[in-house]
């Protein structure tokens, strides 16, 4: 049974009288505990797909089935309740939080909204969550802008796992981090996947990162699927023009390749 099944997803934008399809007839699925990567050049529709899957924007056409339900049919309170199962981590860990927030408030919100823990219990839950993502509990009263980028992204991951989701969309979640921190965050994500059986929709332009974490990969070009298959196979020997261009643009991979 697929966890997420997207079929014929289409999103068009009107720019100066012309209609541009940002996402054009895209279909894919994700199984429980699996990592599917979306790769492609800038403007290929990666982030638009992420926002469509999360219902942050509405598609013009297509179906999204999540946990066997028609996800597009949900609205209002039912949609908000279901959002607990489908979370997101953003690229810029500073922009992803209210500039006035503290670490504790960021994690308190989902606990309160989804009625996961009572008011008295929440501080303990927040401390446990911070420890789960490799931070210390004494970070809780700090303001978001007072902690480092790597710590912020860990808080973002903690916020995403508060509600025990089955799928997390990672929209360039490690792209803004420096290389050493990136490795630690990827390790944390893989560890969470092993223990909690969380599936990832992993959006990135970095084929090296994709090859090390993704099971399958979809290469996008101008809103359409150009290539689709096992991550090692596709990145090792791309068939499509865009796939070859992306691999050629990553010199490290080229040399490491067969």
């Amino acid at each position: 049974m697929n966890l997420l099944a997207v079929s014929n997803l289409t999103k068009r934008y009107r720019r100066g009288g012309k209609t541009i399809a940002a996402v054009d007839d895209v279909s894919f699925h994700i199984d429980p505990g699996e990592t599917l990567a979306l790769a492609g050049p800038s403007g290929s529709g990666k982030s638009t797909i992420a926002r469509l899957v999360l219902r942050l924007i509405e598609p013009d056409d297509g179906r999204i089935e999540f946990e066997s339900d028609d996800f597009l049919a949900l609205s209002g309170a039912a949609l908000r309740a279901r959002r607990a199962r489908l979370q997101m981590v953003f690229q810029d860990p500073l922009a992803a939080f209210n500039p006035r927030a503290t670490v504790a408030r960021v994690l308190d919100d989902p606990l309160r909204i989804h009625g996961i823990a009572s008011r008295a219990e929440r501080p303990r839950r927040i401390a446990a969550l911070l420890e789960r993502v490799g931070l210390t509990a004494n970070l809780a009263p700090r303001a978001i802008h007072e902690i480092s980028g790597g710590q912020r992204q860990r808080v973002a991951i903690a916020r995403a796992i508060v509600t025990k989701p089955s799928l997390i969309v990672l929209d360039e979640a490690v792209s803004a981090l420096d290389v050493s921190v990136r490795g630690e965050i990827l390790e944390l994500l893989l560890d969470l996947q092993r223990q909690e059986k969380i599936a990832y929709l992993f959006i990135s332009h970095d084929l090296g990162v994709i090859r090390s974490v993704a099971h399958r990969v979809i290469l996008l070009d101008a809103g359409r699927i150009a290539e689709n298959g096992d991550a090692q196979t596709v990145i090792g020997a791309p068939q499509s023009a865009i796939g070859k261009a992306l691999v050629a643009a990553a010199p490290r991979l080229n040399r490491a390749g067969p």
Binding site: A81, M88, F97, N98
Partner: protein, 276 residues
């Protein structure tokens, strides 16, 4: 450097703060220094200032103590100015946030209402409202707020339009927060600084509007107001000009103080935001 010290290094801000402090001291001490009714007759009519030291600023046409009236009038000016500005800022911020955040039809309706209020001159609006409902302190406050909430509403809406596209608003939606909670907990607090920057101008304008309404006889008749004092003195402008000049100077200093102190606060906070 702390914001307070930066504030104190700006001479205009300090001058404004001193004037404002003086006004607040006058308002607070009015009933201590001048107990009893300031509108009661205290001495001979039209006594010029600096003649009798028990009535330092003299008396008006009916023999009322001008200094006592000035102190009690400070209360009205300050109360009306602050209350009207607060009401205008709260209404404006809420309307602007709802319009900007909801978008679509809600935005259209709210902004057309704002347009409608803005096309009528605010003083005319206040005048009409007080004439219809009748003069009392609360009515005057509402009347002034009625004409001034549109400015803050527009600024708040513009700010909200840029904030609602930020990632943290999307993040709040992803965790399932209710749209109203997002609007008022996540968006509004971050849209406030430019709205609050308008507060000094609004308070100053509200004080002037109140004085103008009182001058036209539409102030609360049971309270001493500076505008009312000027109107009183108008009849004897040639023989006793001090009756109009004294409250006039008080009004000028008050508006100047509010404006300078407000600008000083905006300036110091703006520098702080720019540095961080």
């Amino acid at each position: 450097m702390s914001p307070l010290r930066r504030f104190l290094r700006t001479p205009e801000a300090v001058a404004g703060a001193l004037l404002l402090a003086m006004l607040i001291a006058m308002a607070l001490s009015a009933s201590l220094l001048f107990p009893g009714d300031p509108q009661a007759i205290a001495g001979p009519a039209l006594l010029p200032p600096f003649q009798d030291w028990s009535l330092p600023l003299g008396t008006d046409r009916l023999g009322r103590d001008v200094l006592a009236e000035l102190f009690h009038g400070a209360r009205t000016s300050l109360a009306v100015g602050l209350a009207a500005a607060a009401a205008a800022l709260v209404v404006g911020a809420v309307v602007g946030t709802l319009a900007g955040f909801a978008g679509g039809l809600v935005d259209e309706v709210l902004m057309r209402i704002t347009d409608a209020f803005q096309t009528v001159p605010s003083f005319l609006l206040a005048l009409a409202f007080v004439s219809v409902v009748g003069p009392s302190l609360g009515v005057v406050v509402i009347a002034i707020a009625l004409g001034t909430w549109t400015g803050p509403a527009r600024v708040a809406r513009a700010e909200v339009l840029s904030i609602r596209e930020r990632d943290y608003v999307a993040g709040a939606r992803v965790i399932g927060m209710h749209p109203l909670a997002i609007a008022f907990r996540e968006v509004l607090p971050n849209a406030l600084p430019p709205v609050l920057a308008m507060s000094s101008v609004i308070v100053a304008a509200a004080i002037l509007t109140e004085a103008a309404l009182s001058f036209l006889g539409l102030g609360d008749p049971n309270r001493v107001t500076w505008g009312g004092m000027i109107a009183e003195g108008r009849a004897v402008l040639r023989t006793a000009p001090f009756l109009s000049i004294v409250p006039g100077i008080a009004l000028v200093l008050t508006v100047l103080g509010v404006y300078l102190a407000g600008e000083g606060i905006v300036e110091t906070t703006a520098v702080r935001r720019g540095l961080s």
